[in-house]
């Protein structure tokens, strides 16, 4: 389990220390206004930036003490953008970071509806396609294409994975993430801008504002009209869906 104990950054971009953990089987949505520190938090969770205060542990061992290859089998990261210098074929790009077999790669590509693009060059992809390719790569790194799973307690971190996807792809991706969390006991943390996606698919939500976590809990607890209006400086109302009662965020006219 990935756990934070009063972990944070004192140097900019700062992050006020807090304690929390990513639970296996849960899809966590990290939301907040621009510049609130969502990506900063993700670079903390992935171990890219070592916490200046407190500690960050996976299974009780601080992340920086993990052997990089062993850690890579346990946690994977999908960054916000993909910038490539060279034209990698999608299939080879997806295999970077794992010794995946062709069958594994095919399985992961199928999960993200990418089979038709497998032999194409990555530089020719659209933004949404590139985004799904990078998610496929992370899943491959965690060995999710294999028929039998080996590593328990894996962590998947995603930075705005839906930002370039159309509404149908958004739905399919969020369903996939939720399914992976539940079926494979993955702990998934996902930065999201669309509050309704967070409300609909996440098990838990963290709300960040100006480098501190100001709320955490179930979507119904966190996505409260007054809190959101203040945090985002927006005029909005929060209703609830008729089918399952989850929050529904609407802009005021």
């Amino acid at each position: 389990m990935l756990s934070l104990v009063e972990a944070g950054f004192s140097r900019p971009p700062t992050l006020a220390p807090f304690s929390a953990c990513l639970r296996p089987g849960e899809l966590l949505a990290i939301v907040g206004p621009n510049g609130a520190g969502k990506s900063t938090l993700l670079s903390l969770l992935s171990g890219f930036r070592r916490p200046e205060q407190g500690s960050l542990c996976l299974d009780g061992t601080p992340l920086h003490r993990w052997e990089p290859a062993a850690l890579a089998r346990r946690r994977a990261l999908v960054a916000q953008t993909l910038t490539l210098g060279f034209d990698w074929p999608v299939r080879e790009l997806v295999a970077l970071g794992s010794e995946a077999s062709a069958a594994e790669i095919d399985a992961v590509l199928a999960l993200l509806d990418l089979e038709a693009l497998a032999e194409r060059g990555a530089l020719a992809l659209s933004g949404g396609e590139a985004q799904r390719v990078m998610i496929a790569r992370a899943l491959c790194q965690l060995g999710l294409g294999r028929s039998e799973r080996t590593e328990p307690g894996q962590v998947l971190l995603l930075d705005e994975p839906t930002s370039a996807l159309d509404i149908g792809q958004q739905q399919r991706l969020m369903r996939l993430l939720r399914r992976l969390a539940q079926e494979h006991r993955l702990a998934i943390a996902c930065v999201l801008h669309d509050l309704n996606l967070a409300a609909r698919y996440a098990h838990r939500v963290w709300l960040l504002e100006r480098g501190r976590r100001i709320a955490a809990g179930t979507p119904a607890e966190v996505l409260d009209g007054r809190t959101l209006a203040r945090a985002f400086d927006a005029e909005l109302t929060v209703g609830s869906r008729q089918d399952d009662g989850s929050p529904l965020v609407l802009l005021a006219p």
Binding site: S43, S46, G47, F48, P68, A69, L71, A72, R75, A76, L77, V78, A79, T81, L82, T83, L84, G85, F86, D87, W88, P89, E92, L96, G97, D113, A116, E119, R120, G121, M134, R137, A138, Q141, L157, G168, R172
Partner: protein, 352 residues
Amino acid sequence: MSRTLPLAGPWRRQAQGRRKQPRSPRQVLALLALAVLVALLAAAMSGSVGLSPRVLLGEWPSPLAWQVWWQLRLPRLLLAALVGAMLAGSGAAMQGLFRNPLADPTLLGLASGAGLAVALWIVLLDGAAGSLGLYGQFLAGFLGALGVCVLVFALGQRQHGQEALFTLLLAGLAINTLAGAMGGVMAFIASDEQLRQLSLWGMGSLSHALWSATLGALVGIPPALWWLLRCARGLDLLQLGELTAHGAGLDAPRLKRHVVVATALGVGLCVALAGIIGFLGLLVPHCLRLWLGPGHRLLLPASMLGGALLLIVADTLARTLASPAEVPVGLLTSLLGGPYFLWLLLKRRARC
């Protein structure tokens, strides 16, 4: 959730057929190694002191001819192979490190930095005269290349993408200009003997390769090549960007240190031994990448073999084209590489 491609029929086949399934890595490397071997044999038999093909039939040359060949031709061939492999291999590694197909030891000023250090050594410290001569020259080349490498790297680190590329190329330009000017100053204050030494070395030529120089290359270059080969997987991961690569298990700072030191060591040695041989480090990896794809586990060893092949061929041409005079091989590679580079820039613009 099926999504069909907008391309259909023959168009789609063409789009897919564009990227031919490459041969297996082993086959590619075996093919290139064979080509290097053939080129070595051909080069060994060509020119004024070349062996006669009858050697293959077991007919040995006269002891004198053999002696001349052994003293003059063999070290030169080995040096060409090693320098070619090093320049092309370090070009491939630099391009991977900067994630940019235009990075190259000469363009980034590494070679001229090493060259300037060697010039300083020859002129100011009168290094060529001492007993440490050649080895001092190696060390000067290494330190010069390392200094430029660190400087260029510090500049490239602060920015990303397109902006970083401009900074790097401009820095390379500045370093090349500065080194050229200071080299001119050195030539101005040098004594006649030093000047002869400088100009002999500076044109990029393998013609004064003797065993003493080749031994230095044999000791220094293979470890640098091996070191670069070990970085191949890391360079692949780095293509994902530093954040993602870290998530995939890469220790990026360590990788950078290794590539920078191995490149500086190898390129410094090459420049100290053979002067500045341009464009090899740009040309070879680029052509091979078009053929083999960008994965470094194949690209790095293939570039090394390809570089060795190209420099052996170029040096043979340099020896024989204007025989009995010699064209400096550095001039030859620049004459070939310059137009190719321009064509490359034009083509890139068309695609973007």
